[in-house]
């Protein structure tokens, strides 16, 4: 790895602003690195030709960035990992990408993902799975698997992804990087291809907490094109907290009986001790409804998806198949050929949940659970500053290990879904390494910290202090070191 690529995005930004680093040279180094993608992480790379030029011109003082292929980029292929959008070049650019370009960040490429963000392993991409840079026989997590893999694998300094039920945090955990899901409404969803509109949120996948803060500062804000966006009052500044004194971290009592990997539990316990070492206090909190989160989520998200994905009908853009005989045949053939099995499964689930006579029993009930979970968190935050859990119940699993068992796959989101339903911010930071339950290589384990709505600054400050305290600086390759400490490397 070239020394240039060892810089965090923040370090590179500061060096470029100071005139110590030439933006062109830095961007060229990353383009060269991205070109070496062996992980199937990029679906499109900006090679500077034709359409690429349009999105590469910027003030170049911000590190180039990889963008999940769910964000529309004018003139550049945008597939959301689906066959049904193969060849689609959107006529407009998403607000998140526009803000990045305006800030001066060239787009390195568009990253692979589970189709329409539905998945926890990236195996649901129509364009093949992404490989985990720590072990190419394993999944990088999902749905923002491409974005996590390019950051962990040295193919991009940082990336953006989307999180609906854990799609930023879980791949960040599996790949040993930082992933932040901001408060619902912190970042505009305009141009972010919708999976479940009431849950989807854009967020950073970065090497460090400071990079996540820098990126969140660029992305957040009210957008007139998204009436549900509000932004973060006062903006976001770089975290600089050194300890955790005076902060209370709540551990859900329910964790004690939850079934998850021993290795993950060990890293989690060890991180709790680190929090105490840094002056933080550990307390128990009750989230009695959280265990129903997965059930509620797998009603609400598919219900919204069934409606959001109905526009892919072959009439106006994207793939079209059939239709020689009539309209209905065209709809059916296009959608049968264009969507993958998991997407179809969720469309059917969601259509059923919303149908007349079942609405109250499913959608109505799920919304009540959602309200309860939000109330659980409000109750917890009355006594603690943060709620902490493991990010995922296991380390990265093997490709194909869970593809035949959708329920086992859905349980990957067990720890991340409640925060999504409550709309609150949560960050996953790498906390250590553990072997998979059945034995195997040492793999990263994420630690999740959740905070009250719009308390991103406080969350980032605490995560930064903990990150420095943990000192996790491993990259996927032996001997490779990620810079995490600004003071040491800056």
């Amino acid at each position: 790895m070239s020394d240039l690529l060892k810089l965090t995005a923040l370090e590179a930004h500061e060096a470029m602003v100071a005139g110590d680093l030439a933006a062109a040279e830095y961007t060229a180094a990353w383009k060269a690195a991205a070109a070496g993608d062996e992980l199937n992480a990029y679906l499109w790379r900006n090679e500077g030709a034709e359409e690429g030029e349009a999105i590469a011109v910027a003030r170049d003082c911000i590190a180039p960035i990889a963008v999940k292929d769910i964000f529309t980029t004018e003139g550049v292929p945008t597939t959301a990992g689906s066959r049904i959008l193969e060849g689609y070049r959107p006529p407009y650019t998403s607000t998140a990408v526009r803000k990045l370009l305006e800030a001066g960040a060239p787009i390195l490429g568009k990253t692979n993902m589970d189709e329409f963000a539905m998945g926890s392993s990236n195996e649901n991409s129509a364009y093949g799975p992404v490989l985990n840079p720590w072990d190419r026989e394993r999944v990088p997590g999902g749905s923002s698997g491409g974005s996590a893999a390019v950051v962990a694998g040295g193919l991009a300094p940082w990336a953006i992804g989307t999180d609906t039920g854990g799609s930023i945090r879980q791949p960040a955990s599996f790949c040993g990087i930082v992933g932040l899901k901001p408060t619902y409404g912190a970042i505009s969803r305009y141009g972010m291809i919708a999976f479940a509109s009431s849950l989807d949120q854009c967020g950073p996948l970065t090497r460090t907490v400071s990079d996540a803060a820098l990126l969140l500062g660029i992305l957040q804000g009210h957008d007139p094109c998204d009436s549900t966006s509000v932004g973060i009052e006062g903006g976001v500044s770089l975290p600089d907290r050194e300890d955790l004194s005076g902060l209370r971290f709540g551990v859900p009592a329910e964790l004690a009986r939850d079934d998850f990997d021993a290795g993950v539990r060990a890293v989690f316990e060890q991180t709790l001790r680190k929090i105490e070492e840094l002056g933080g206090e550990i307390a128990e909190v009750a989230l009695p409804s959280a265990e129903h989160g997965i059930s509620a989520y797998y009603v609400i998200a598919p219900a919204e998806a069934s409606s959001n994905l109905a526009r892919y009908d072959g009439v106006r853009y994207g793939m079209r198949d059939g239709g020689d005989s009539d309209l209905i045949e065209m709809y059916e053939t296009t959608r049968s050929e264009g969507f993958g099995p998991e997407v179809k499964r969720r469309i059917m689930l969601g259509t059923y949940a919303l149908s007349s006579g079942y609405y109250e029993a499913y959608y109505g009930q799920a919304q009540k659970v959602r309200t309860r979970i939000a109330e659980d968190f409000s109750g917890a935050f009355a006594g603690v500053d943060f709620v902490v859990t493991p990010t995922a119940p296991s380390v990265a699993f093997k490709l194909g290990e869970k593809t035949d068992d959708p329920l086992a796959m859905y349980l990957n989101d067990f720890f991340t879904v409640p925060m999504s339903l409550a709309g609150i911010p949560a960050i996953s930071i790498p906390a250590g390494l553990a072997a998979p339950a059945g034995g195997g290589p040492q793999l990263p384990v994420g630690f999740q910290i959740a905070a009250p709505a719009f308390a991103e600054q406080k969350l980032l400050d605490a995560a930064y202090a903990l990150e420095q305290g943990i000192g996790f600086d491993r990259g996927p390759n032996p001997g490779e070191r990620f810079s995490i400490d600004r003071a040491a490397d800056g």
Partner: protein, 476 residues
């Protein structure tokens, strides 16, 4: 069997005359080249989001207040899901259980609700019939897609086809005077569907209803309802039952054909639109909507009738607020003259004179100022000039403007005050029309017209008709 009573409710779609569409910035248009007013949002590209049009919300509030509706402090947009090429998102953003406007009333008819939604795109079915059945291909024009609509739903309070059409006219006039829509039925900016059922007179229960669509004029609305009522009555009276279905009215044949039955009814899978927050009109918006309400036709008719105007004249003025304003200015200037008389001049003589002179626009745009018309009416009332001369002066005022007095003087139209002179002319006319005199003597009073006509010709209309009549009777 008891007589069957008609039970009719209307669903009215009003296209709002905003500058832009309901959820995007595309301009509204009618009659432009297809698919020029489109954008990623109204074409439902991946990733787009709707942003509500504030002007449309203000217009909906005006309609709601004009219909006496309760305004919801927080109304909710829902998605109504169905696949059709005129519906690019495959859902229409509409309102479901909490509409912006709740219960209200217009005239004697209760309003159930009025809500905001977006219009579908326009489908053009290629082929001779213009209908989807039998057409070889269908084209979609997205210009109309996303136009703001207010859907007004009445309670089933209407009891006949003519009553329904009359009430629909009042509604159109009310909305038109708010200035929030073109309310043109032919162009589709006002669309009226009818829910029609019958039941034994005196029954409180509702019969099975059918829904009638595509009646693009008030005449067709009435004809469509009449035809459907006749069909239902015949069916029920012969022991059959009405099936719930949607019927398409064919203006050419006046017939109704079934579009879809209950079994084919869609399950729209309504759920709250997660891309939009609840709609909460601010106090400022409500205040502005209240203040912008003009005096509406129903209120104006009542006020004019109190002033002594006959019902039909009151209605004519109430449906034309600018002329009504003109009328009120004349009444004010003609202090003391009965408003009924002024109204007759405005809606009768002046309207006729404007038509005659082919003057565009109404009285308010004409060269006849309210004070000029007021003094003209006064001169006629005080018998300073004859009614006929009044019309002559009015024609001059329409052409030239100005005041009536100088015209009367210039044209020598002052009423003949010398009764000796008039008497001589009357005698001469009688002498020249012995036949008419004979017939009057035989009791045919109509024959008097011939003699009056001759006198008027002789005096160039300056003679007072009443005086001429009196003199003729005297001579006989």
């Amino acid at each position: 069997m008891a007589e069957l009573e008609a039970v009719i409710g209307l669903e009215i779609h009003v296209q709002l005359a905003t500058k832009t569409k309901m959820f995007c910035g595309c301009e509204l248009s009618f009659g432009d080249e297809p698919n020029v007013h489109t954008c990623p949002v109204c074409l439902a590209h991946p990733g787009v989001l709707p942003v509500p049009n504030e002007q449309a919300i203000r217009y909906a509030l005006q309609i709601g207040l004009a219909l006496g509706c309760e305004i919801a402090p927080h109304s909710i947009f829902h998605r109504k899901n169905y696949f059709y090429p005129d519906n690019p998102k495959a859902y229409q953003i509409s309102q479901y259980d909490i509409p912006i406007c709740g219960a209200g009333r217009l005239g004697d008819i209760r309003i159930h609700r009025a809500h905001l939604e977006e219009d579908a795109a326009k489908m053009i079915h290629v082929g001779s019939s213009g209908r989807i059945h039998g057409s070889g291909a269908s084209l979609v024009d997205f210009n109309r897609g996303g136009t703001p609509l207010v859907e007004i739903v009445t309670e089933p309070d209407l009891r006949g086809a003519a009553e329904a059409a009359e009430w629909a006219r009042l509604l159109r006039e009310t909305v038109r005077q708010l200035g929030v829509s073109d309310v043109n039925m032919e162009e589709g900016s006002l669309r009226v569907d009818a829910n029609v059922s019958v039941r034994p007179a005196g029954s409180e229960e509702l019969g099975t209803k059918t829904e009638l669509k595509n009646m693009n004029s008030f005449r067709f609305l009435q004809r469509g309802i009449e035809a459907e009522l006749a069909r239902q009555r015949e069916l029920v009276e012969s022991g059959g039952t009405v099936e719930q279905e949607t019927l398409h009215f064919d203006p050419a044949s006046g017939s109704l054909t079934s579009l879809r039955s209950k079994e084919e009814a869609h399950d729209y899978r309504y759920f709250p639109e997660p891309d939009l927050v609840p709609l909460a009109p601010s106090e400022e918006m409500l205040q502005e909507a209240r203040e912008s309400l003009p005096e509406l036709p129903a209120a104006r008719i009542a006020r004019y009738e109190k002033m002594g105007l006959p019902g039909d004249v009151a209605l004519t003025l109430a449906t034309d607020p600018r002329t009504a304003g003109y009328f009120e200015n004349v009444v004010e200037a003609a202090d003391g003259i009965e408003p009924r008389v002024v109204a007759n001049w405005v809606t009768g003589e002046l309207a006729a004179a404007l038509r005659q002179a082919e003057v565009e626009g109404g009285a308010a745009d004409s060269r006849v100022s309210p004070p000029a018309l007021a003094s003209l009416v006064r001169m006629v009332q005080e018998k300073k000039i004859s009614h006929g001369s009044g019309k002559t002066v009015l024609a001059t005022l329409v052409a030239e403007g100005g005041d009536p007095e100088p015209i009367v003087e210039r044209e020598g139209l002052a009423q003949m005050s010398d009764s000796g002179e008039l008497e001589a002319i009357v005698e001469k006319a009688m002498a020249e029309n012995p036949d008419a005199v004979e017939r009057i003597r035989e009791g045919n009073n109509k024959a008097i017209g011939a003699i009056v006509g001759a006198v008027m010709r002789e005096t160039k209309g300056r003679a007072d008709g009443g005086e001429v009549n009196r003199l003729i009777q005297e001579k006989l």
